[in-house]
Each structure stands twice: as C-alpha cells, then as structure tokens.
C-alpha cells in the first residue's frame, strides 16, 4: 500500500469520518425496549439486605446495644460540645436520604 493510495483513501473518507448522526428519537426507542430486569434484581437485593439486617438485629440483640449507645449519648450530651456526633449522624442520614430519593425519582422519570 503506497502513500498515494493512503492519501487518496483518507481524503475520500474524510467527510464520512466527521459525520455525526443526530439522535432523532433513537435513544427514546432504545430506552423503551429495555427490560426491567435490573430494577427487579436491585429491588430483590434491597429487600434481601433489609431482611438480613432485621434478622441480625434480632439475633444479636441489637436493641440492647442501641439502648446503651443512646443512653451514653444523652447522658454525655450536656457536657460534650453539642452535637458533634449528633450533627455528624444527622448529616450522614440526611445525605443518604437525599441521594436515595433523587435516584428513585430519576429512575421513575426515565421509565415513564
């Protein structure tokens, strides 16, 4: 393959190489054809985790640990710089709730 032929072909294909195809509803068609399999798997996984958490909480007497921790928290609250741990806990829970809610909303919106 000589250089002249290479140049000839590169020139011939140059327009095709830069061609962009507009979406024109293609993505929507693909999204409509997607099965819900992954969502069902995720839901099954979430339910399994919740069940496992409840079972472990019960078997390991989680409420006793929780009671002790809460008692310590409330007893030491007046002496501790207020809310360092509490604020951290609230922030983490709040963040998780917001992230989870936005994911659920976005998934539902795309599905519709």
């Amino acid at each position: 393959m000589n250089d002249d032929n290479d140049m000839l072909l590169q020139q011939f294909f140059s327009d095709a190489a830069s061609q962009h195809i507009d979406d024109n509803g293609f993505t929507e068609q693909v999204m409509r054809r997607l099965p819900l399999r992954i969502n069902w798997f995720n839901r099954l996984w979430t339910v399994s985790c919740i069940v496992a958490a409840v079972v472990l909480f019960t078997l390991l007497h989680g409420w006793e640990l929780l009671t002790v921790q809460l008692e310590v928290l409330f007893r030491t609250l007046p002496t501790a710089s207020l809310g360092k741990w509490l604020m951290m806990l609230v922030t983490v829970i709040g963040g998780l709730l917001i992230a989870g809610a936005s994911e659920v909303i976005s998934s539902e919106r795309v599905r519709r």
Binding site: A17, F26, Q29
Partner: protein, 195 residues
C-alpha cells in the same frame, strides 16, 4: 449526568440500575454505533437502527461484564461487531436455504450478495456522496469492509480493531491491505482523483 465519566455511568447502571445513566450512555454513543452499522450495511438506515438498538440492549443486559480493560466505546463496538456478525451469518444461512430450494426446483438464478436487497434502498434514498462511499465499500468482503471502516472512518488503530473483531493482528493487517488496495483501484477506475 452529562459531566459524568463513562466508568461512573456504567457503575451507576450496573450497581444501582440507574436507567438515566444508561440513557446518557446511549446519547453519547448512538452516533458512532449507528454510523458503523450504516457503513457495514451499505447505507440501510432502518436495518442499521435495528442492529444498533440490539447492540445497546445487549450492552444493558451485560453491563456487569464490562471490566474497564478497554474503553467503554471499544467494548460497545465489540458488541456491535458481534451483533452484525450474527445477523450476517443468519442472512447467509437463509440465502443457503433459498439456494437449496431453488436447486430442488431446478430454477437457475444468478448468485447475489446477501446485501443486494439493501442496495436498492440506499440507492434511492441517499445523496450521491453517500452513494459513492457505499458503492466503494460494496467492493469489499465483509471482513475487509469492517476493518477498513473501523480504521478509516472510526479512527481505530490495528490493535483496537483486533480487540473489537476478535481477529489476530496479522489477519487485520492483511484485510486492511487487501481492502485498501481494492478501494484505491476502484476509486481510480471511477475517476476519483486526489485534489
């Protein structure tokens, strides 16, 4: 979503089942995938879109198998190539069955390419520029056409083409060499000179 990297979007689809992330991936890569099929089917838009949809569907169902050893686009193109390969094999089998039926009926007919039915549709529906491209690509065998379009239109190097097609590097090189030679000869014979 538009600012997320491919890896981040893939992770969101695989772990969280986030369909919006997959929507973004389809928007990002619909153009190269559909263009790849347009070139391989010699300009049949409807068939290209059907094959492209199958490609994204398979990508969605197998997204957990993406290991990020290559880019997401290369992985997607590998799926696209396999989808086309399966389609092509199916067409060949159907053609063979038709030929057997014809032999049994003792009804002689001229052999034709599996894409002959496509030519009529693209000849009537595309501009002369595209007609030139697809007419030139029609001179090549399927493997040659795949390698030539992946290199000259999609810009992949030989190693990436081997990765996408599953062919050996040496085989890709010989397909490219033969394909380019045929193309250059065809262009010169048809008066296409480099300006």
């Amino acid at each position: 979503m538009a600012n997320h990297t491919d890896i981040s979007l893939v992770a969101q689809v695989a772990v969280l089942g986030n369909r919006r992330a997959f929507d973004e991936l389809v928007r990002r890569y619909q153009s190269p995938v559909r263009r790849f099929f347009l070139n391989l089917t010699l300009g049949d838009g409807q068939l290209s879109d059907d094959l492209a949809q199958d490609t994204f569907l398979k990508a969605y169902l197998n997204i957990g198998k993406f290991k990020a050893l290559s880019s997401f686009q290369t992985w997607l193109m590998r799926i696209a190539y396999n989808v086309f390969y399966d389609y092509s094999r199916k067409m060949r089998n159907e053609k063979l069955e038709m030929r057997n039926v014809n032999v049994e009926m003792r009804n002689d007919g001229a052999p034709h390419s599996s894409f002959n039915h496509l030519h009529s549709s693209f000849l009537t529906s595309h501009s002369s520029f595209k007609l030139d491209i697809y007419s030139a690509l029609a001179q090549l065998k399927e493997d040659e056409r795949t390698c030539v379009t992946l290199q000259l239109i999609d810009g992949y190097d030989i190693a990436a083409i081997a990765d996408i097609t599953g062919l050996k590097v040496g085989t890709v090189k010989s397909h490219l060499s033969r394909g380019k030679e045929k193309m250059a000869k065809y262009l010169k014979e048809n008066g296409y000179e480099r300006r």
